[in-house]
């Protein structure tokens, strides 16, 4: 059974700080352990208090001596790390089929998802991997808020039209964008009927330090001028067994996220795990505009019994 850690524990925070000191992100941990074992021989496993728990390349937990890690960091060049990120980024996580369920009844337009996402992916306030829209289908029906990430379609029009394989569909269902490959033709933006993609029209707002980070295709950071960016289902977080940024940031229990193969989704707010098929069936779940034949992998639960009254919804939108 899939276990998601709801919030970061203190040790994990330490680990994160430690890795930051090394100039690495948490997402890099898998690669570091790989290189530790290949370049320094077998990893020393010891039970002293100072060891680190890192996720190995196969998803197993490895205990690593920070001293070894420090050595490994010196040996691992940027290009080697980059190659490893690219390899695993294109391959995906074997055996998984990620799926998201968005409960429209619960969304109150808190926009914590948007904030968390923009923070993680170095986006400007007007750039959205996930965008909370105010929808009203007909004049007679009630308005509702609709968080709109990338739908990670099983028949993705964006991937079909990309001339250089910069955007691709992985075995775990995630549609990623490689901003080292992208030529900036923006055909995928035209091709996506859900407006899920954004373009870096100018130099992204990043510090010099951030710009120097090794590019992780699963995080799409550093962002690059003249290339595409989009929702990645937080592939970097999934790799370390965590829920996506938006999902964990939601205060209102809107998001369920999980593995379709396991038929289990976990709520990002409550931590509750339920059967995906039950959730979607019992709550009349559906996908958006499936008439395009895109087979979206983000499911919506209808906006019934909304917590936000009609007037409230109106008021909140006029502010924007």
């Amino acid at each position: 059974m899939l276990e998601f850690t709801k919030s970061e524990t203190t040790e994990k925070k330490d680990r994160r700080d430690f890795l930051k000191m090394l100039g690495l992100t948490i997402g890099a941990a898998g690669a570091v352990t790989t290189f530790t074992s290949t370049t320094l021989g077998a990893t020393n496993l010891n039970s002293s208090k100072s060891t680190l728990s890192l996720i190995g390349p196969d998803g197993d937990l490895v205990e690593v001596d920070p001293a070894k890690l420090q050595m490994a960091e010196e040996i691992v060049s940027d290009s080697e790390l980059l190659r490893e990120y690219q390899r695993r980024g294109r391959e995906g996580i074997p055996g998984k089929k990620w799926v998201m369920v968005i409960d429209l009844a619960k969304c109150q337009n808190a926009r914590k998802c948007m904030e968390a996402c923009q923070g993680a992916h170095e986006l400007r306030p007007e750039q959205h991997h996930i965008n909370v829209l105010r929808m009203q289908d007909t004049p007679d029906t009630a308005p509702y808020f609709m968080p709109k990430p990338c739908f990670h379609c099983d028949n993705p029009p964006c991937v079909k039209v990309c001339p250089v394989d910069a955007t691709f569909k992985r075995q775990d269902g995630i549609v990623l964008i490689d901003n080292l490959r992208c030529i900036g033709c923006r055909f995928c933006v035209a091709g996506c009927p859900y407006s899920a993609r954004i373009f870096q029209w100018s130099e992204p707002d990043m510090t010099e330090e951030e710009k120097l980070r090794t590019y992780d295709v699963e995080l799409n950071v550093p962002q690059r001028k003249g290339t595409i960016s989009k929702c990645l289902f937080s592939a970097d977080r999934l790799r370390i067994g965590k829920l996506p940024y938006c999902v964990s940031a939601c205060p209102n229990g809107v998001y369920w996220f999980g593995d379709k193969n396991e038929d289990a989704v976990t709520n990002g707010t409550t931590g509750e795990t339920v059967r995906f098929s039950d959730l979607v069936r019992d709550n009349a779940g559906y996908t958006m505009h499936e008439e395009f034949g895109t087979k979206p992998q983000v499911f919506y639960l209808p906006a019934k019994d909304r917590r936000v009254p009609y007037d409230e919804a109106n008021r909140m939108t006029t502010q924007n």
């Binding site: 007007e126 750039q127 029009p157 079909k160 250089v164 900036g184 035209a190 029209w201």
Partner: protein, 456 residues
């Protein structure tokens, strides 16, 4: 047709006169022509600066944003590809169907084609966010992308058009080699090299005609291909306004309109600048006027289909798009283009007095400018009617008004096309000398060319 094939001997021009008339533009460059090309070069330099600025700052200096992700650069591309299709119409379709009146203007048409398609390719590069990664296309190209098809077919069309411009020019190059004796040495070398030792033997003419014919046939699928594939860049997307099954023929028919108009303007300029009244005659104006009416009527038919059918159904998103075009934000531009660029030109050109050089040139200008704006109307407004509403973005994401940089680069691309057309005439005869001479009943043109010019 008959009078072209059997010119009356009393009226026929002396061969030396034909040589003189058609070689003179190459020998002397007029002052106005020099001013004209300096002007074009200035525009190109200005546009190049704008492009360097764009390279440094990113496409953010354009008015394009996440919703209006394609703007005037893509409009330029579609427009230039459209204009280039006229080469195929005038040199392949008309010649293969045995229509001979277009002979004197076939080289103008082919030149327009080559110049336009060259800069069409550049327009795409200008639009790229990362032109430094252009090698990724051959390196990582995926055949499922219509861009890869488009690049393939545009390049093939460019190569084939250059061949189709060059092949019928070989006898002329030989004439220039032999006749244009006071040419600068680099020009002499160029003509000698390009003339491929042409002597004008029956054997050589047989080969040349066969090669021309093969090219005319081969260019058909490629020419239809470039504009059909270009239309697919839009039609393959599930977006209202682009999601159309008739985009291929709609684009091709529109291309014939824009290209014919471009050739009419070029005919006017060349005729005036180089005193070619004896070669581009009233008959040519008359026929080109009729041709423009014909292709415009076909285009009108596709326009009616393209807008009336979705306009009748008024599906939710189609309705938004069609309202914007018919009565909304885009309406002034849309109706100007349809009325001034298509309907009025059709009506006027039906009447013979308008099929004269000056009125036709003015009408063709309206058609050509309308043609560009029509591409803009196809590319841009659709993007403002996405499936989900445009929200939580700044105001400038919801409109598209091209910036100075975009306009500068666009003008530079157009200036590039015009510069090629200007310089070509200083090197090569714009009217096919040998074809005119043959039509006038002269043979052994190559032998005659070798004879020294008689004192005048």
């Amino acid at each position: 047709m008959a009078e072209v094939n059997s010119p009356s001997l009393t009226e026929r021009k002396p061969l030396s006169q034909i040589f003189k008339d058609l070689i003179t533009p190459i020998k002397t460059v007029s002052f106005s022509s020099k001013v004209w090309d300096r002007f074009l070069i200035l525009i190109i330099i200005w546009g190049t600066f704008a492009y360097i600025h764009q390279l440094q700052s990113g496409l953010g200096i354009t008015a394009m944003r996440d919703y209006s992700t394609w703007g005037v650069y893509i409009s330029n591309f579609v427009f230039l590809v459209a204009v280039s299709l006229v080469g195929f119409l005038l040199t392949a379709i008309l010649k293969l169907t045995g229509i001979k009146w277009a002979t004197p203007i076939s080289r103008i048409a082919e030149l327009v084609a080559v110049a336009a398609v060259m800069f069409a390719g550049l327009s795409i590069i200008v639009d790229m966010g990362r032109p430094d990664r252009i090698h990724h296309i051959p390196l990582h190209g995926r055949f499922s992308s219509p861009i890869v098809w488009d690049i393939t077919v545009v390049n093939i069309y460019l190569i084939m058009s250059v061949i189709m411009l060059y092949l019928p020019m070989i006898p002329d190059l030989a004439i220039l080699r032999d006749r244009y004796t006071d040419a600068p040495s680099w020009k002499k070398k160029l003509y000698t090299l390009l003339a491929l030792d042409w002597k004008g033997t029956d054997e050589q003419y047989k080969l040349l005609n066969r090669a021309n014919r093969i090219m005319m046939i081969l260019i058909m699928p490629v020419a239809l291909g470039i504009h059909t594939v270009t239309s697919w860049l839009f039609a393959v997307n599930s977006r209202t306004g682009w999601d159309s099954t008739i985009f291929g023929p709609y684009f091709v028919s529109g291309a014939f309109v824009a290209g014919t108009a471009a050739v009419i303007i070029a005919m006017y300029v060349y005729q005036r600048a180089y005193k070619l009244d004896a070669y581009i005659t009233g008959k040519h104006w008359d026929m080109m006027g009729k041709l423009l009416v014909l292709v415009s009527l076909v285009y009108l038919y596709f326009n009616i289909n393209e807008f009336l059918v979705p306009g009748y159904k008024m599906k939710k998103l189609d309705a938004e798009h069609i309202r914007a075009l018919f009565v909304g934000h885009e309406a002034p531009l849309f109706w100007s283009v349809q009325i001034l660029g298509m309907i009025i030109p059709i009506i006027l050109l039906i009447f013979k007095p308008f099929r004269k050089p000056l009125p036709m040139m003015i009408i063709a200008l309206f058609v050509l400018v309308g043609g560009w704006l029509k591409r803009f109307l196809i590319v841009v407004p659709t993007q403002f009617h996405p499936t989900f509403p445009i929200q939580n973005v700044p105001e400038n994401f919801m409109v598209y008004h091209p910036t100075l940089a975009e306009i500068s680069i666009t003008l530079a691309l157009i200036a590039g096309v015009l510069l090629i057309m200007t310089w070509f005439v200083r090197l090569f005869p714009i009217i096919p000398i040998w074809e005119i001479a043959h039509e006038e009943g002269y043979h052994q043109v190559e032998e005659e060319a070798k004879k020294p010019e008689s004192a005048e």
